[in-house]
């Protein structure tokens, strides 16, 4: 059943912040790929919504070695970026969904959605968001700790240092719309250090710090891959069993590191 919720259509980021944080707090409508069907099926109540399609929050720019991606940038545009962000965005949904879904919406979606949190965690991305108390910056974990996506909160953009190299591998799927059971992102920064993150290894995206430490200590890819299991918190769901996740994580960590050229 469709509600009669009013929808604002701001034409700038400032207008969008004002509209989202005004009372009663508004729900953000970006690409709509999750919110619209949930709303159609009566799974979510929306009192007031703000659509970002005209807020000019979809820019992607590079300056001084840092990439800044507007929260309303569609995944189709993000897919043109280098790995791991580009490869991950290309792996989400089919062409029509990628053209509509946004990076901000993906970050704000609960697991098993939210694939983009993996590569952004590996990159140490800095998120900028607004709420009734002002504008804040922090990592993926900081945004989640602040309460994450909810009415009254607007993710503005995501920034990260362009890595020296990046890689992304995911469990292949039979159909483009199937959810990804597991993915691993790896990044080698300008300092030569390698950071690794996974989705599907734990209930939410997680860094694989033990594997990173093995590499930093001069260990091999195989040793780092084996160590990654210590950072996982495997779980059962409809996509995969905990036992399967535990078994395949080292395989995908190994592939990501090989792709990275370690």
């Amino acid at each position: 059943m469709t509600s009669t919720a009013a929808v604002s259509m701001p034409s700038s980021e400032a207008e969008a912040v004002a509209a989202v944080t005004a009372q009663p707090f508004a729900t953000v409508l970006a690409g709509g790929t999750l919110l619209v069907p949930q709303h159609t099926l009566g799974q979510v109540e929306v009192e007031r919504a703000v659509w970002l399609g005209r807020a000019e929050m979809d820019g992607i720019s590079r300056s001084n070695g840092r990439m800044t991606v507007g929260a309303a940038a569609p995944l189709a545009a993000c897919a043109r970026l280098d790995a791991p962000v580009g490869a991950c965005a290309a792996d989400v949904g089919d062409n029509e969904v990628k053209a509509q879904a946004t990076i901000g919406g993906n970050i704000c979606s609960p697991a098993p959605y939210g694939d983009m949190r993996g590569p952004l965690l590996a990159l140490g991305a800095v998120l900028r968001w607004a709420d009734p108390d002002g504008t804040h910056t922090g990592g993926i974990a900081d945004f989640a700790a602040s309460g994450g996506a909810r009415p009254g909160v607007l993710l503005l953009d995501i920034a990260f240092a362009v890595p020296e190299a990046g890689s992304f591998v995911a469990l292949r799927r039979h159909h483009t719309q199937s959810l990804t059971a597991m993915s691993v992102s790896a990044v080698r920064g300008a300092d030569g250090n390698v950071t690794i993150a996974a989705t599907g290894a734990a209930p939410d995206a997680c860094r694989l710090l033990s594997a990173e430490a093995v590499l930093a200590g001069g260990g091999s890819i195989a040793e780092a891959a084996d160590a990654s299991v210590a950072d996982a918190d495997p779980y059962d769901d409809v996509l995969a069993s905990a036992a399967y996740r535990r078994r395949v994580l080292p395989v995908y960590v190994g592939r990501a590191l090989e792709q990275l050229g370690e």
Binding site: T2, S3, T4, A5, A6, V7, M9, L29, G31, G32, T33, V36, P37, H39, T40, L41, V46, A49, W51, G53, G93, D94, N95, E96, V97, A99, Q100, H175, T176, Q177
Partner: protein, 173 residues
Amino acid sequence: MELTVNSVARTVQSPPLTSLLTVLREELDITSPKAGCESGGCGACTVLVDGQPRRSCLTAVCAVDGAEVTTVEGLGTPEDLSRVQQAFIHHYAAQCGFCTDGLIVAATAYVGGGGSDDTGDIGEALAGHYCRCTGYVKILEAVAAVARGDTFDTASTASSANNTYVTIAGAES
């Protein structure tokens, strides 16, 4: 909200968060977009928004205010079918027909954008569309034929060599 649907200006009364699929089917009585999964996963509700394929079940109608929406009804007429429609008939690319409308509009955008006749490219472009009859080979052949510039004689399709029915012994008894 004002939309142009199949070249006709329409004023929409539904609330702004209503899906475009619901508006098309229930307010405007345009029923070619199908409510398959209603979660963006099957492709049966695909329409063209300003020439680009979009899932109408994922699209709030407020997001297409002022846009031009094209469904399969707007691609051709029974007397003058579009080339993709002709190809689907000629190559027997429709079985139950539930996925056909979404595939035809997506294929129209693909060939309109200069897509090649390579079945790998076509498969990639149409990857979000489920055919529950699993008639994918005929669909790929039809789209490839349009991309190649083939001509279609749909009037003779019914008597063509393609139209060979196999009778299974005892099936009619």
